[in-house]
Symmetry: C4
Subunit: 385 residues, 4 copies
């Protein structure tokens, strides 16, 4: 069956990945309420169909995160992508560059920033968390600058790991018994294509960026432990001064959901914020990103660029986010699934489908330019405000 949409890539990813890996990508924290709402709240937003407006020249291009983009979309930082496809971050970065959208490399990537930067020609964006060891952070920021990064995305909603039931069940996190190890081995062996292509030929599977900071080895087993010890829950707005000092480039804050936090972000002079609940992977029970968005947009009142992520699965969803106050969106699982399904080619195809969907949706709502999309594209009585 031909691939038609993100959900189809998800189905393929489910077939190709060992179960525990698929669950890692697909799942969220706790009962996965926020995860579900990210998607279902978007679907509730009704768009105004308009007719007989000249839409023979619809353009999705715009400026986002300080650069020209082919559409108001970027690839979100996704950890461990090197496990979904061989050298996954490289493949995805190439697909993004070819499609004209920014790629944000995760701090927790398998491929180190140097490897990924070398494989594309335009500057990457780099995502980092606040780490207790500030010497490591300074060093990491230096590496990023050296790799040509101009824009730093600070993820502020992952000061600690939130319980994810699926990962606990699969013992991706938590202690492992021998039985658990055997079960996982069976899952791997029953996906021989993945086992050979990614498991064997895609090595090494370390956290390329953190390796220097993880003396006990940068393998995945050590990672969660390291996070709990090294992520910094004491960080406050004042600590951003330190970041600002070591990163003179563009600064984006990822993981803001609340209007008051958004106002603080304006105060500290962030270039952009990303309204996000980490794809439903941190605080379960948090509102969906699309529900939080209009409140934040209202508070920010144009003083800062606003991106949003969480639940975007189609070009229609992109339009919904723009109409709710975003300047652009990030795609998380959409590209992770496409990558797992078909590597660079999958990500390219996914971006092309999304671009086409966005164009058609713009045309049918009577918009020729991204900048024209505003709140009046939504039916008032279905808004979530």
């Amino acid at each position: 069956m031909a691939i038609a949409c993100v959900e189809d890539f998800r189905h393929q990813a489910r077939r190709r990945l060992p179960r525990f890996l698929f669950d890692y990508v697909d799942g969220g924290s706790y009962a996965e309420e926020t995860l579900r709402r990210n998607v279902s709240d978007l679907q509730r937003l009704a768009l105004r169909q308009r007719v007989m407006r000249d839409v023979s020249d619809v353009r999705t291009s715009t400026v986002l995160l300080g650069r020209e983009v082919s559409m108001p979309v970027a690839l979100a930082p996704i950890g461990l992508a090197g496990l979904y496809a061989r050298r996954g971050e490289v493949q995805a970065a190439r697909a993004a560059e070819a499609a004209g959208v920014p790629f944000i490399l995760s701090a927790s990537a398998c491929c180190a920033i140097e490897e990924v930067a070398a494989s594309v020609s335009k500057p990457l964006l780099f995502q980092l968390y606040m780490i207790k060891d500030r010497a490591f952070m300074a060093d990491m920021l230096g590496r990023a600058r050296d790799a040509g990064v101009e824009t730093l995305v600070m993820t502020v909603d992952l000061i600690m790991h939130s319980p994810r039931y699926r990962d606990m069940r699969s013992t991706l996190t938590g202690r492992q018994t021998i039985m658990d190890r055997m079960r996982r081995m069976v899952q791997i062996l029953s996906h021989p294509v993945w086992a050979w292509d990614v498991g064997v030929r895609g090595r090494p599977h370390i956290l390329g960026n953190f390796a220097p900071a993880m003396p006990g080895g940068a393998g995945l087993a050590q990672f969660t432990d390291w996070v709990s010890r090294n992520f910094d829950p004491s960080i406050t707005w004042d600590d951003l001064a330190w970041v600002r000092h070591h990163w003179p480039g563009r600064l984006v804050l990822k993981g803001i959901l609340d209007r008051e936090d958004a106002l603080r972000a304006v105060d500290v002079g962030a270039g952009s914020i990303i309204v996000s609940n980490h794809g439903g992977r941190q605080l379960d029970g948090a509102p969906s990103a699309i529900r939080a968005l209009p409140h934040v947009a209202d508070a920010v009142a144009g003083r800062m660029e606003i991106l949003m992520d969480g639940g975007i699965r189609s070009g229609i969803d992109v339009l919904r986010a723009l109409a709710s106050g975003a300047d652009g969106v990030l795609l998380g699982r959409a590209w992770a699934f496409a990558l797992a399904a078909d590597g660079q080619q999958g990500v390219a195809q996914m971006l092309q489908l999304l671009h086409h969907e966005l164009s058609v949706a713009m045309a049918l709502t009577g918009h020729s330019r991204v900048a024209d999309i505003g709140g009046d594209a939504l039916l008032p009585d279905t808004s979530l405000l």
Copy 2:
């Protein structure tokens, strides 16, 4: 099991048609949200049951689209009906004529307008899209006039094709591999009755009306391509002057959902509009037709006839639409399914069931005449406004 309702015809159609064809009729665009809402929003409207009003003489007849009709219902333009039953458009047109309701021939019909017109005695209605090649359009309008058409339905919400995931998966649209072709062949061969009756004896399967304009052949494979190249997304309200010039007859605009667009339709002097989201096949995320209807009716304020389509599956639904401000409704899938299930006889039976349902519903809500049905037939606190 005897047939009781439209849903039963749908089940039979599913059994009779090759899978990819059934999906083409049944499906909608993207995630099919609007498709679902078309039906579910109708069901939410609660009707006021009234008793002890003399309803011994309930009449469903009225005037619609400029002619006397047995009930406020017409058959919507449906493309490719010649694939659901042998010379399907002819069979449906005959059933409609016998039942006293208008039949709107789709521009994308298999049977050319001349063939269908010759098989009935009353004038057909004809539906057309705005085509870039105005010479072809002028020619087509001439053919329509020659075939006795008095009322032209201009579909304004299909300026381009919207992605339909089911059709992409079945490769009805998009590129086909050999595997895809084989899979479709298997689907056809596993429906031998259809294969012989429609597939072989129902030929030719071309787009009868567009054939003159499609030099590369008017087969189905060429159609989607041709649409993308020839449908005109640059059309604006001003271009209607051209249509008006070449079509002095009655003009109906199909595919209006927004009150502002409805007001423009009043301004340009359209005889009627059809509040429609193309059966959930164009802008997914658009409101259901029944939700849009009262806003449009409010804006139009009686200055123009209003029809509505999308989700009508019973006589109760017809009453709901009338109570929400429509003068009449179109049936889309209802007749397509009935046609696929049982040809002309199926369409006749479906119309008879609907007529009976509407009569009973009128009686139980205390209405003897269609004209008496108004907003007070609905329970106020369940309305969608």
Copy 3:
């Protein structure tokens, strides 16, 4: 498994009755929206739990339909009960009498009024529709009086039969092919207990009350036809004068849902009304009875007794109805299922379960007497008004 509630009786009835009969009892008209809402709207009403009120002497007894009753519940008129159990109406009437609740004999009963009246000692209530043949009606009313009936229930919402999809599919209504007849025979033969106990030994299966008026035979096959010809859709409030003239006893109007109709009922001096949508068997799309009830109660303002039926499945539901403005409720399917499951004994057990549930619910909401149950027994923010 022991029987715990009405739903359990329903499951047993489904096992015991031939499919087409179960569907006749269980089903509703059209898409069965109103049928579902009758039940689900009741469940949405939240009750206020109260503690530490002396409820050592909870009494469910009250006065209803002009007589002392053990609880504010009566058995609704149900047609064809003689098909669910042998001489079903007699069995149910006996169970009702033993339990101290009124039994309303349907005009469309299998057992004639004389047979049922002879089997119990207290007066029956009798239900009738408006029949065109007023001579027959006068005669029927005379028979009722002779059988000791004091209260007449005029059903006003069945002036014609509404399409019921399940019955059409099973060809209980509509034309029958030989195949249909065979399918039904298979259903009967696969329920040999029913076939012997009810099908053979429960004969004759005629409409005992209508037999004199149906010259072509009072069998079931003739009934629907006869209804369509003889039920009187021309009836208005003025025609009640005729009834009043021939029936000096207590008069109850069954099938009122609208506040305006309720006001008319007050005007014509009805003793009671039954807020009802005929168990979701007539106007599908009509509001649930519990949703209509508070509006009607508000309009009536105590000037008339108000009963309600539709969806009552437990003692909790009885309390909800009382708190929403009813003086009592009728049980429809609840007793039909219990009768089909276990005859007189089943109905007795069902009534006992309901009585217990009502007592407990009264105690836990702090009510010792039925008369004390009012609107403040409901949580305000969950009401349907």
Copy 4:
């Protein structure tokens, strides 16, 4: 598969317990509407995610029910816990003590208060109902004092047993046929681990506390009967004087849902109340505890400690309850399932998971102390008020 959450313990409990026992724990009264709402209403409450607040020192400890606790959680009184694991009350009490949370021993426990008290070092809390035989009550209170109990929990919402359909079906309540007995024996024999470990080695299975008052034997079979005869539905607020007289210690009222009842509780000087619908086991149709909570908290206005139970399944839920006005929560099924799944070790693990979840949730909503959690932790437009 490793255990990740309460739902996983539930699945294990379902596997380990004979069906009728699992149903006893899992089920609720009537149609189980309130049971479901307890859980689903909690999930609807959306939490405000906050970032960049120093949460490096999150403390869940607080004062509850008059003592220092490691988190604002206590184990609710659960009857018959000795049937879910061998000497179940002892195991659970030990786990609670080790985790630093209070254990409330049910009056209907299998293990007598003396046995449980002897197995832990800190004072137990003891729960009692109002029993008609005041001499027994006085005696029981004396035993509690002797066993070191300082806090008495009077359950006021169980003045009689409410019908629980599952227990009626399994004939745990109601009359038993030989068939029923055999069915239950089969269920036991198909769980041999339970049969041996709990059924045989966990004896005696009597109601340890009530044994002196049940001359006919304190086995389970006699219990429901005894309840119906001895629980006191005549109790009013005035009768609390008697309790106050015989219990000078701390008094907690469990089972208040209504703001007016809460005000009475303030008047009589109760130390705390527990907003509860008995886990959906008494008045079905009552609002969920979380829905009732803010109304009660509003009425109490800080004059009394407020706990809440019903539906708490995670640390997120604890936070939701605190944000809705509770000072703490009780866990019911959460510990019963954990106990059935893995005895004392299961309860310990469950409490540890919950503690971790609460800590993370506090951190991600920006709270370092339990006392800081207030109404502004909830998104206003999702509140249930």
